[in-house]
């Protein structure tokens, strides 16, 4: 077990470095942050020289591998660099945005898992009956509805028409109350949570249906367990392993989904920040975001592997 964890950590580090190389190279090839500093209509004779000098200052005229190594050296010293656009430290820019995004994704994920487990199980138990058809229909509808459309629709209905909930931001300016903050959470968390839950629900349903036909279910019934106890004590417990895998694989997609939702609800998280800085090819910020995402994904997979051993005694890590 200990040896496995060490080996797994080692391979995660290697994967992480490969990811940084790819992200760095692609971002450096994809756009010129310096050119974005001067609007095209303000170009004049000195501009080209100014830009060349600026590039030299930033070290962007060097070969990309050299730039990468320089960047990596800075990272090891704990310096993620500064934004090219506004010169602010990247760690500071990201730091102030991480909280809201974690809050949004975390709550949406919890909501999605709850919905998927409850309704997915319900549909599985009622397979090919009315409840199953209704749940399946709604989940297919949710899968086919893009998050941005659902977001706009939710704003139109609940904010514009009904006026029940605020449509943007984390709180009303000048108001400091928990109720106000909770109200701001409702729409973005629900829209993101619902869109995440649809796919997960389908997966839970399928997994539960196959587990429900397993022989040990009949054994549990023969022991005198009620259907409910059988599902809670045996079926869910067995279905948890594949469901966990699925959730862990969803995490990168959730980050992508959050970008859209944050834009629509003017949520001051990393998603809206990414869009701002990507428009300027502000690579120090973007690479840091990429790194952070990579760490989250690697950590989630690592955690999933460790949880398997807890959830499934047949899995032993060697």
């Amino acid at each position: 077990m200990g040896a496995y964890i060490l080996r797994r950590l080692g391979s995660s580090v290697v994967v992480f470095f490969i990811i940084t190389i790819i992200i760095f190279t692609m971002l450096r090839l994809a756009g010129d942050p310096v050119a974005m500093l001067v609007p095209p209509d303000q170009y004049n004779t000195g501009t080209a020289e100014f830009l060349a000098q600026k590039r030299h200052e930033l070290g962007l005229d060097r070969a990309i591998p050299i730039q990468y190594l320089a960047w990596l050296g800075d990272v090891f010293r704990g310096d993620l660099g500064n934004s090219i656009k506004n010169g602010r430290p990247v760690s500071e820019i990201i730091g102030e945005r991480v909280g809201p995004t974690v809050e949004l994704i975390g709550l949406a994920l919890i909501l999605a898992i709850l919905i998927a487990l409850i309704f997915g199980t319900w549909a599985a138990v009622r397979k090919n009956r009315t409840a199953d058809y209704v749940i399946t229909f709604i989940s297919m509808l949710a899968i086919s509805t893009p998050g941005f459309f659902a977001g706009i629709l939710a704003i139109y209905v609940f904010s514009v028409k009904l006026g029940w909930l605020p449509s943007a931001g984390m709180s009303t300016t000048g108001v400091h109350s928990t109720v106000d903050q909770l109200k701001h959470l409702v729409l973005p968390v629900t829209v993101l949570g619902l869109s995440l839950s649809a796919g997960l629900l389908r997966f839970v349903r399928g997994t539960m249906i196959s587990e429900l036909t397993a022989d040990y279910i009949r054994t549990a019934t023969a022991k005198g367990l009620s259907k409910r106890s059988t599902i809670v004590k045996h079926v869910l417990r067995n279905a948890l392993v594949p469901i966990l895998t699925y959730v862990m694989l969803q995490i990168p997609l959730m980050v992508a989904g959050a970008v859209l939702i944050e834009q629509i609800f003017a949520w001051p998280g990393m998603g809206s920040m990414i869009v701002d800085y990507a428009a300027n090819s502000d690579y120090p910020v973007l690479i840091a975001v990429g790194m952070l995402t990579a760490i989250v994904v690697l950590a989630a997979n690592f955690l999933a592997d460790l949880l398997y051993t807890v959830l499934d005694p047949r899995v032993s890590l060697r």
Binding site: A222, K223, G224, L225, K233, R314
Partner: protein, 382 residues
């Protein structure tokens, strides 16, 4: 064996049923009458059980034999609502346990019967145990469903039960998961689970079919011992006539969802009154005679999707193949001797087996334990 957990509760129903058995052995424990079970399939309705009636006396071992698809498993599973509905459906019939009707009974009532009065041992111990829960806890769960005992008490009872079924180091084994058990050990754990609440009826649904031949005899011994210790009547389902000869007192032969013949083991094996039974006996390999080939029953098992107005065995039957009455009219299960019933229009024309078939079948089933090393284990623990 000490009964520390819930002994007061589960002892009670046993005490009441025991005198009933004593003063009138004619009062059966289980009465199944005209049971019909259908399955809706894509190909049509399958008449899996088609009018089956039988009784089991307290403490009696009834062997149920038949080919795959004869309805023997479905019959036993539908007695206590263990078939999936849908696609299955009990369309007609009555099942009475200790005089209480179970068909149409409330789920709450059936739950008390399952695992309490009736214990089931399933065919494949590889898949019948929950892979992610410790064996001791799964056995303990059977106790906890029916008795208010603590988790620790249930675990203690599980250890006792594992010991009772001859699992070595029961304290260690109780804390292991099913994948750490061998097939034979898993089946012992299943048996422990089935007898956890001292059932009055044990259903063993081909309990040795999925096991190695060397293990089969050991598991049979365990079932026999468990049956004797708990005094439970047993419905032993198998396609192995040798096992029946070893274990059962009475036999019920099933074919195409119907009972073909029922009677004492001795009667059925030595004087069968149904050509199908005779065919089964003739197809047994002999250990004592030098045979070049086995003798199969010609043809294949019936298609339960269509309901034949006559005898289901007629197309394969050496006696009735060309007779109109066998084609057109279903023979009733009629008494052909004391306690011996046959559903055949011409029971007296049944070809008779070679004389030594009963001994041979019994020898076949008993041959294995001498070869199994763990059989000695078993004796130490008993």
């Amino acid at each position: 064996m000490t009964r520390s957990t819930g002994s007061g509760r589960d002892a009670a129903p046993q005490r009441t049923s025991a005198p009933a058995a004593a003063d009138g052995a004619d009062r059966p424990l289980l009465v199944v009458d005209d049971l019909h079970v259908q399955f809706r399939t894509e190909a049509g309705t399958a008449y899996a059980v088609d009018g089956v009636s039988f009784t089991v006396a307290p403490g009696e071992v009834l062997g149920v034999v038949g080919e795959s698809g004869s309805g023997k498993s479905v019959t036993s599973m539908s007695l206590f609502g263990l078939i999936d509905t849908p696609p299955g459906k009990i369309t007609k019939g009555s099942v009475k346990l200790n005089g209480r009707e179970l068909i149409g009974a409330k789920e709450r009532v059936l739950r008390k019967v399952r695992g309490g009065e009736v214990g089931v041992v399933f065919q494949d111990p590889m898949t019948a145990l929950d892979p992610v829960i410790k064996v001791g806890r799964q056995i303990g769960e059977a106790v906890r469903v029916h008795h208010k005992v603590s988790r620790a008490q249930a675990m203690q009872r599980a250890v006792e039960l594992l010991q009772q079924v001859g699992v070595p180091q029961p304290e260690v084994r109780a804390n292991q998961y099913p994948h750490e058990f061998s097939g034979g050990m898993r089946q012992r754990a299943m048996i422990a689970m089935a007898i956890a609440n001292n059932p009055v009826l044990l259903i063993a649904d081909e309990p040795t079919t999925a096991l190695d031949v060397t293990i089969q005899a050991q598991v049979l011994d365990i079932i026999r011992k468990a049956q004797q210790e708990t005094g439970a009547a047993t419905l032993f389902i198998t396609h192995d006539l040798g096992v029946i000869a070893e274990l059962a007192e009475r036999v019920m032969v099933m074919y195409g969802g119907r009972v073909m013949e029922t009677g004492s083991v001795k009667e059925i094996f030595t004087r069968p009154r149904h050509p199908y039974t005779a065919g089964l006996l003739a197809s047994l390999p002999s250990l004592t005679r030098d045979e070049a080939e086995l003798t199969p029953i010609p043809g294949s098992p019936p298609n339960v999707l269509s309901q034949n107005p006559g005898c289901p065995f007629q197309p394969r039957c050496s006696v009735g193949r060309d007779r109109d009455i066998c084609r057109a009219q279903r023979p009733p299960l009629a008494e052909v001797g004391p306690g011996h019933f046959s559903a055949c229009h011409f029971p007296d024309e049944t070809p008779q087996p070679r004389a030594c078939v009963l001994e041979e079948a019994a020898v076949g089933a008993a041959a294995a334990p001498e070869t199994g090393g763990a059989a000695t284990d078993l004796k130490e623990h008993s």
